[in-house]
C-alpha cells in the first residue's frame, strides 16, 4: 500500500469492562457491555462488520461462532461478523483484520470486541486450555504450562546475561503503581520491591509477581474511515498510523534463538516503516506482560533496549510514567488483569485514551505517538499497532 492510496482510519470509540471474576456474566453479556460503551463513545455509529477476538470460548464455554452470537445479542443481528483466534494475540489480530477490511474500501465502520470468560473452569482445567497456545504434540504433551514456558525463557535469560537477583522486580512494581490509579484494574494496590522478593515461586525462576492474573474481561473499539465521521469530533482524533502482524514458530524449541522474539521484532519493524517513524519516536508502549520476561524481551525486540538489557529499563525507571518509554500505563496484564484474547484490544484502547488525554490519573502529558503489541503464546503471533493523535485536534 503506498501512502497516497491509504485511507485514514480513526478510532471513533472505546469501551472497556473491568477485568475480574465475573461469575454472574455470560460471555455474550460481558461482550455486550464493552460494545455498548464503545458505541456510545462513538456516537452510536452502526458498524458494517464485527470482529470478535477470542481464544478460549470453544474450550471454556463450549461455544463457537461468536461472531453471529455476539452480533445478535448486541442488537446487530444480520451484520457481517467474524471470530478471530490467535491465542493471546487475538485482540491485535482482530484489529489488524478490521483495519485491512476498512482499507479495502468494502466497509466504512468496524466494531472490534475482545472477550474472554476465564472463570468458567477450575484452575487445572484452565491450564490445559491456556497451554493450547503452544504446540500440542510437542510441548503440551510433556505437561508444560504457560508459566513453565515463561520460566524456560527466564532461566536462560538470567543464565546468559548473568542477572542480579530480583532483576525483574521493576516490571511488577511499575504495573501495580499504575494499576492503583486505574479504577477498572483487577489489582488497585501499589506494591514495593520487598513484596516482589517475598513472593512464592510458581515455576522457578518465575514467581507469583512475575505472572499476570488471568480473568474475565471485554474491550471494544469502533474504527471508522475518516470521511464518514462528523467534522467536529467529540474527542481528539486518534488515527491508526500502522497495523502489522508477523509470525514465528509456535514451539519454543523450534526457534534458533529462543531469546529473540522474531515475530515481535518483525512486526514492530514493519509498523515503524509503515508509519515512517523510529522506536525513539514512540512515547508509550503497551506491551505483552503476561509474564515479566516477555516485557523484557519485547522491549529488546522492538528496539528500546539492546539484547540482554531490557530488564534494565525496569530497574532504572525508564518504563515508569515519567520515564523515556512508559509501559503498562493502565496496569498492564499484571495489574489491570489479563483477558487472553481480549488483551490486545485493551492495549489499543488504552493507548488511544492516553493520546486523547483521557487516561485519568495515569495520563502521560502531551503524548502524540503510542504503540501496542500483543503476542500469542510465547510469541508465535505478534500484532503491532502504532497510534497517533491527529495534528490540530
Amino acid at each position: 500500500m503506498t501512502k497516497s492510496n491509504r485511507h485514514e482510519i480513526i478510532i471513533a470509540g472505546v469501551g472497556l469492562t473491568p477485568v475480574g471474576e465475573h461469575w454472574d456474566k455470560q460471555l455474550r453479556t460481558l461482550a455486550f457491555e464493552a460494545i455498548s460503551a464503545a458505541r456510545k463513545d462513538a456516537g452510536e455509529l452502526v458498524p458494517d462488520a464485527i470482529f470478535v477476538a477470542n481464544s478460549l470460548a470453544p474450550v471454556l464455554s463450549s461455544q463457537t461462532q461468536l461472531g453471529a452470537l455476539i452480533s445478535d445479542f448486541a442488537g446487530l443481528r444480520g451484520v457481517e461478523a467474524y471470530t478471530i483466534q490467535a491465542a493471546e494475540a487475538s485482540g491485535g489480530t482482530a484489529v489488524r483484520q478490521a483495519y485491512l477490511a476498512l482499507q479495502s474500501g468494502q466497509i466504512d465502520i468496524a466494531l472490534i470486541v475482545g472477550v474472554e470468560k476465564i472463570s468458567e473452569r477450575p484452575t487445572a482445567e484452565l491450564e490445559d486450555a491456556l497451554v493450547m497456545s503452544g504446540d500440542a504434540d510437542y510441548e503440551a504433551i510433556h505437561g508444560i504450562t504457560t508459566a513453565a514456558q515463561a520460566a524456560l525463557l527466564m532461566q536462560r535469560y538470567i543464565h546468559e546475561h548473568n542477572l542480579p537477583e530480583n532483576a525483574f522486580a521493576g516490571f511488577c512494581v511499575n504495573a501495580h503503581v499504575n494499576g492503583a490509579n486505574n479504577p477498572q484494574a483487577m489489582f488497585q494496590r501499589a506494591i514495593d520491591e520487598k513484596s516482589y522478593q517475598k513472593a512464592g515461586m510458581i515455576c522457578p525462576p518465575v514467581n507469583m509477581f512475575d505472572a499476570a492474573p488471568v480473568a474475565d474481561g471485554a474491550a471494544a473499539l469502533v474504527l471508522a474511515r475518516a470521511e464518514v465521521l462528523p467534522e467536529t469530533p467529540s474527542h481528539p482524533q486518534v488515527r491508526i498510523a500502522a497495523s502489522s502482524l508477523a509470525t514465528s514458530t509456535v514451539a519454543l524449541h523450534d526457534r534458533p534463538d529462543i531469546l529473540a522474539l522474531r515475530a515481535a521484532s518483525d512486526s514492530a519493524e514493519k509498523a515503524y516503516k509503515f508509519a515512517d517513524i523510529q522506536a525513539k519516536d514512540v512515547q508509550l508502549f503497551e506491551l505483552h506482560d503476561r509474564f515479566s520476561i516477555f516485557a523484557a524481551l519485547s522491549l529488546e525486540a522492538c528496539g528500546f533496549a539492546k539484547r540482554g538489557e531490557g530488564w534494565k529499563l525496569a530497574s532504572d525507571g525508564s518504563i515508569n510514567k515519567d520515564g523515556s518509554i512508559p509501559i503498562c500505563t493502565f496496569g498492564g496484564s499484571k495489574a489491570r488483569g489479563d483477558s487472553a484474547g481480549a488483551t490486545g484490544v485493551y492495549q489499543i484502547a488504552e493507548v488511544c485514551l492516553q493520546l486523547q488525554g483521557r487516561a485519568g490519573k495515569n495520563q502521560i502529558p502531551d503524548v502524540q505517538t503510542g504503540m501496542a503489541q500483543c503476542l500469542g503464546g510465547t510469541g508465535g503471533t505478534a500484532a503491532t499497532h502504532i497510534l497517533q493523535r491527529m495534528d490540530g485536534s
Binding site: 491450564e127 504433551i141 505437561g143 504450562t145 508459566a147 513453565a148 532461566q155 536462560r156 543464565h159 524449541h253
Partner: protein
C-alpha cells in the same frame, strides 16, 4: 480419547525419529517437510542418538489437569547432540546429589507421558535422565 493422534507419532515418541535434509545435511526434529535451515524439501528419516544437554529448565508445581498425577516434575529444553532442541520432562533425578543445571548431559529414555482421559489410554514417549557415565 485421541487414538490416531498418538499412534501416528509412535516412531518419533519411542525412537526420536527425525529427518535429515539431503540438501544441506541439517538434522531435524520433530520431522517437518521443509528444512528449516535451507528451505528445501526434507523427508529422509533419521533416528537421533537421544544424547544431549539441558539448555534451560524449570519445575512445574501447578500442572495442567492432564498431568496432575505427576506433579511436581521438571521440564526442560534439551539440545540434542545432532543439533535440534526438544521440549521434554527430565526424569530419574536425584536433586540432592545432582541438582539440575544448564549444560547437564542427559540421555533419552521411554516413559509414560500421561494417561489420556477416563478410558485410561497410556501415552508413552521420550523423557531425559542424567547421562549415566559408562566406565
Amino acid at each position: 480419547m485421541q487414538l490416531p493422534r498418538h499412534w501416528r507419532l509412535n516412531k518419533q515418541r519411542y525412537a526420536l525419529e527425525g529427518e535429515i535434509c539431503t540438501h544441506c545435511q541439517a538434522k531435524i526434529f520433530p520431522p517437518r517437510d521443509i528444512c528449516p535451515e535451507c528451505g528445501e524439501e526434507a523427508n529422509t528419516p533419521l533416528n537421533l542418538s537421544g544424547r544431549g544437554q539441558v539448555y534451560t529448565f524449570t519445575k512445574v508445581v501447578q500442572p495442567p489437569e492432564s498431568h496432575a498425577e505427576q506433579a511436581p516434575y521438571t521440564v526442560a529444553l534439551v539440545k540434542l547432540d545432532e543439533g535440534p532442541t526438544v521440549t521434554a520432562q527430565l526424569t530419574d533425578l536425584d536433586e540432592d546429589q545432582q541438582p539440575v543445571e544448564i549444560g547437564m548431559p542427559v540421555e533419552m529414555v521411554t516413559r509414560k507421558l500421561y494417561s489420556d482421559g477416563d478410558r485410561g489410554l497410556l501415552i508413552y514417549g521420550y523423557k531425559f535422565r542424567p547421562l549415566i557415565q559408562q566406565s
